[in-house]
Amino acid sequence: MTDILNVRGVTKSFPGFILDNISFYLPKGYIMGLVGPNGAGKTTTIQLILNILRADSGKIELFGLDNKEYEVRIKQDIGVVFDTSFFADGWKVKDVEKALSPFYDNWNKKHFADLIDRFELPRNKKIEKFSRGMQMKLMLSCALAHDAKLLILDEPTSGLDAVARDQLSEILQDYIKDGERSVLFSTHITSDLQRIADYITFINRGKLFYTGSLDGLVEKYSLIKGKPTELDDCLKDQMLGFRVTNVGFEGLAETSTITKTQSLILEPASLDDIILFASKKGANQ
């Protein structure tokens, strides 16, 4: 079976930043979260996938096709949602449809109208007056109206309130329900992801830290807590990152490397814990 998205050994260097040898793949029918702290390389990765940026080396395939060679064909099947609206301010919903629909062979007028109704987007209001959540839903409607096989969302949840984030999760889960479509979304807010993401690709400082199932990542690491006196050099070495206070310490380590002593507390780590401590480790080096 071909993967919806396959990124192989992609490198891109800028002055002061290198996205270094990134590889991951996303099978059909699943949601992948692209995570990492700000400036980790998430947006660069998305721009490379969309061929907005050219990689120095490596290969990216969408639906089994090279993303540069078959760019036009591939883009028919991709829907993109960015963190800021890409529509002209004075436009209304019908202007957006007029501008976008000619580019897509599969644009479905009825589906678009249904989505606008479902999301309760006002047709008479200018888009500049739309809230963040409404703008996101409009971009999403455009992506869904041309029957995209892959949705790529760059920080779609930033600036959304809890209600809108919850709606987004629901929309994405509905979208992949038939098992034929996939979603890649980048975010630094992980509470949304913790539950609905099947796969996680974690990029830290331009390097791939992890790619695989979310369960696999969360099971691989544990939180360790203990008294300051228990924090010896050996333990410090084992930990990916840690935080010491007067009353105790808290850190993250691979579950398999830790020998449990009586007073150390081992707890399951959340995605947030992992990102937090793994990013700290990078900063210490």
């Binding site: 699943y30 509905d174 992949i176 038939d178 993401a197 796969y199 979310l214 369960d215 399951p268």
Partner: protein
């Protein structure tokens, strides 16, 4: 079928699903041949990932509680299935092992332990 996910729970979500499906099969709330919600429907309803529901169902299948029919879905296996019986025997064994360990801590003799078991078997109300 009903599933309630506790966010504060220590056990992972797939484990919670497994336990609850098992309970409902053992209690007869889920009957032999009954179709379970599809992996993707369940994921959507619980707002969890498809891989999580897949893991729960796959493990339930390995343990003999449900069976997948490719292209159709997952069905409850009857309590008459061999795998199901094996699973129950394993539960009995592990509970008895716990009992034996506890008996050793309490320095009970083999004879005393068997007496306790016999006594408990005579008492009604364990079915």
């Amino acid at each position: 079928m009903h599933i309630i996910i506790a966010n504060g729970s220590d056990s992972p979500i797939y484990q919670q699903i497994k336990e609850q499906v098992k309970e409902q099969i053992l209690s007869g709330d889920l009957l032999e041949g009954e179709m379970l919600p599809s992996l993707r429907q369940l994921a959507r309803d619980l707002k969890i990932s498809v891989l999580t529901t897949t893991r729960a169902y796959n493990e339930l299948e390995e343990e003999g509680f449900i069976v997948s029919q490719p292209g159709k879905g997952f069905y409850v296996l009857g309590s008459s299935s061999e795998l199901f019986k094996e699973q129950l025997i394993r539960t009995v064994e592990s509970s008895l092992i716990d009992a034996i360990k506890a008996a050793k801590h309490a320095s009970l003799s083999e004879e005393e332990l068997k007496q306790i078991l016999d006594l408990l078997l005579e008492v009604d109300g364990y079915d």
